[in-house]
Symmetry: C2
Subunit: 557 residues, 2 copies
Amino acid sequence: MYTISDYLLDILKYLRVTDVVGVPGDYNLNFLDHLEQRTDLTWRGNLNELNAAYLADGYARKNGFSALVTTFGVGELSALNGLTGSQAERVPVLEIVGTPATTTQQTRQLVHHSLPHQDFSFSKQIHQNLGIITGQITVNNAITEINRVIQAMLQTKQPGYLQLPVNLANLQVNPVFKTRIPTLIAGSTKPETPPLTLLNDICQQLNTAQHPVLIIGSAVERFHLKNVVQKFITKHQLPFVDLNESKGVIDENIPQFIGTYTGNISNPVVQQFMQQADLYLALGPILSDVSTGGFTQTFANYNTILLTPQEINFLGEQRFPANPENFTATIKALCQSPNVCHQAGPTNPFQLTPLPSGQQQPLTEDFYRQALETFVQTGDTLVVEHGTSLFALENNRLPGDNCYICQSLWAAIGYTFPAALGASLANRQHRVILSIGEGSILLSLQELAFAIKNQLKPLIFILDNQGYTIERVIQGLTASYNDVPQLNYQTLLPAFGATAKTAQFFDVKTNAELISVLKKLQPANQPLTIVQLRLEKTDAPANLKKFSKLVKKNNQK
Amino acid sequence: MYTISDYLLDILKYLRVTDVVGVPGDYNLNFLDHLEQRTDLTWRGNLNELNAAYLADGYARKNGFSALVTTFGVGELSALNGLTGSQAERVPVLEIVGTPATTTQQTRQLVHHSLPHQDFSFSKQIHQNLGIITGQITVNNAITEINRVIQAMLQTKQPGYLQLPVNLANLQVNPVFKTRIPTLIAGSTKPETPPLTLLNDICQQLNTAQHPVLIIGSAVERFHLKNVVQKFITKHQLPFVDLNESKGVIDENIPQFIGTYTGNISNPVVQQFMQQADLYLALGPILSDVSTGGFTQTFANYNTILLTPQEINFLGEQRFPANPENFTATIKALCQSPNVCHQAGPTNPFQLTPLPSGQQQPLTEDFYRQALETFVQTGDTLVVEHGTSLFALENNRLPGDNCYICQSLWAAIGYTFPAALGASLANRQHRVILSIGEGSILLSLQELAFAIKNQLKPLIFILDNQGYTIERVIQGLTASYNDVPQLNYQTLLPAFGATAKTAQFFDVKTNAELISVLKKLQPANQPLTIVQLRLEKTDAPANLKKFSKLVKKNNQK
Ligand SMILES: Cc1ncc(C[n+]2csc(CCOP(=O)(O)OP(=O)(O)O)c2C)c(N)n1
Ligand SMILES: Cc1ncc(C[n+]2csc(CCOP(=O)(O)OP(=O)(O)O)c2C)c(N)n1
């Protein structure tokens, strides 16, 4: 018998999802029974739902799609901050929520995980409020509803939310729908013709500009435009910057790379280059305070062509309709247009700073940053937490072919540890390196048990600087609210089930120790590794110090 | 200078809140700076926001009120499942959310933790959707808005949600408002005259009934009606039952206590008594599937007088208006009414089962349950997780003067560990005993660091039965989705910062070992204690087995 659950699982499989994460609950067990029977898909139970949502987000950033299973009320609301992060940053995670049976809902029974008002629609409404694509499976709409949600997700690269009542998980459907999955998925990308005037206008501007510069945003990666944009850049030798939300989307190793731009707080060479430009072509950026150094970017409406899935702004003039199709169609057409004849000369190639010697000193975060720049290899996935890590590492050059994961806009701490595990799960061949503060890893720490159980092998640098250093720099330098409990990380590994074979631990106090540990870690096939980096309480990157002044000022208005 | 933050903190202090919990974020640091300066209130930072919300709920169940601080977007959405649990079960927790500055919001800047649509109202809307009392502080409404939220919370015993923009945390207000706090709090309980016809009708029914029985619900506790109801019961020798959501609200040690009623799955003696009754007077119960053994209660509309804060049902007839004031006023008037002349004889007093000997066998959950019945002392707080624990312990009699904490309706696992810490924090004199599955404790495990840092000393029984046993009994007896990673609990304590002085650990494999450990634990002033109970994978209470059949059946309709 072919059921709606099988159909849903077949779609996931077709989207290269091989691992489904989440937490069981009686309302989703009928669905999980179908998953349990598959040999081509594996259930990976998380320790809690928020962690599961973060993990699914990391998986989807790596794989293009992922799925998460939760239970009604308690599970889905626990996961909400994760799915909202996926919404904020366009990551197609499908949350399948097992809900009470249809009769239970219709007769408004006060079952566990429901609210005294006995109206079961509250959680779907919450997701709708957040602009998340939502669906609710009924006997009559099952196939259509799933198709609608999946297509909308693929079109917009947004997360989706699907309620599956427990009694409908075994609903029989015609197996013919399985054969139509390829058509369904193909049908979700309707390449439209780009708005032609816009295209001409852009070409013309680009051809007449003396010093155009491309600003690469994360949507270039989300909408799978990396290759076409990179070819365009190389062909016309166009200089480009990326942002901390989009590092490495275009190879940072090609000579057109100027650096990672974050307004006034960027590297002076990058700032100078950006100031001299006379045309900015911004492709899919999220221009938040964190990605623009507190809104200090030099480009402005009058000299910028902004193309994003939700806004087209041509030198200050809004153009319509702005939507994902026009975004991708315009970029593709532009990149392949025979009318672009701009040809810039080679630019200043990005310079790596050589690692300073004199390494017997106590470890500093800047030394760590520099050491990491040469340690990170082509193909590595780098996951960077929203603490001092984000600001330190945004100035490093990536060696190429890297997946760089951070939550630059939503910026929920605790996100990156599960996300790093999700990225590891999505591709066990790639090395995953996580840089995280000891404050942040605490939020989702129990997933260490998930990592060990599932033989994941991320390399985790824990920046142990005695508290929330990024916050100390903003406010409360010595305030007790910025302290966090001190853990014993070495003991943590066996506590969560690791053995000497499955995990290793290093405690690093000096620059020299870091270098020697990094040497040991060079060979492939390392087990799960935690490196505890002992840092000064207030050791923070210079760009963060500048940024924090802007944040603090903004917070007083 | 007296500020709005000081005012808010003074209100908390007046409501006997001495510890404020949560997680910092730059939008709430101005507020936390005020807290940091107080000597009469202490900030207790949690490891993540969901844990903080659970902890605040436990604190409020013990103290009558509590406060939680989060940051906009990421923090508050992480906490949402906790606050919704407080909403479902009427627990007055005030969440103070630090939001971006007013100018940032008005000019719709894309700052961290906001959504690309740049509308900052989404999170307030979500809380409103859930029926939570919400407020948003502005320059003009500050005092009024706080007063409105606090009064509504005290009137309804529901949680509240208050947005405080970061730039307004230092808003100066007139110190005269501080002196008016007692009036504000007093003004929140407006004792109305009870609906007189209703009162007469109830008295008449009670006087003519042969076998009336009182059903005590949690709202009796929430609305501080324990004493008046208990006096009423003793005066008229009225037999009563409580529910698993309201255990111990009325002393289970007085002869009128029949037992804890859970429909068909209750203890046969209790069922029999309930079947013979001819009038049921139900005071403030939440009649969910979990509290009624899957809706198998013997009482029905025609023979039940139901009084709750949101419904008055007199033998099948809805009476209006049903609201918190009429609920409390009616109960108070009834309990003190000279017109009740019912006088029942003494009832079957509840019998404790003597502890079986023959204890060299492997530990069983039923042995644990029985052993706990005599171990728990007057004054203890018992916190019971929604796994096999809830079903096992609901049949125990409490010795009296106990606070019994469980989430019978919302039933979010992971809730009780932080809640137990919250209860410990609210009253360091009382012993707090937690009974929790090893599946559930994983969800919020990192709060162990909070417990150790803050010298809390709960006694924690971890039912280590190799997975989600309650779910195995419902579905997936051997399914892998019901497995959880195996931790090493002994190592966990030092990993989270405990020393041999501050924490102890026991591993219990047989009934005899349990008895000997319980003996060791009898003297007061134990440090934080974890007792790992090794149980069979499918060892579940008989009442849970019955219940799970009903749940499974319900889930197929
Ligand atoms: C869920 C959530 N809660 C709170 C915050 C506020 N916040 C931002 S950064 C930060 C501290 C991070 O500290 P840590 O991880 O120790 O990194 P460090 O800056 O010390 O490297 C906090 C609490 C947040 N961003 N997300
Ligand atoms: C937040 C949340 N997620 C999932 C569930 C579904 N659920 C209910 S009970 C349970 C298992 C509890 O197992 P455990 O704590 O090990 O207790 P045991 O039954 O083994 O004593 C689960 C997963 C839930 N109630 N809440």
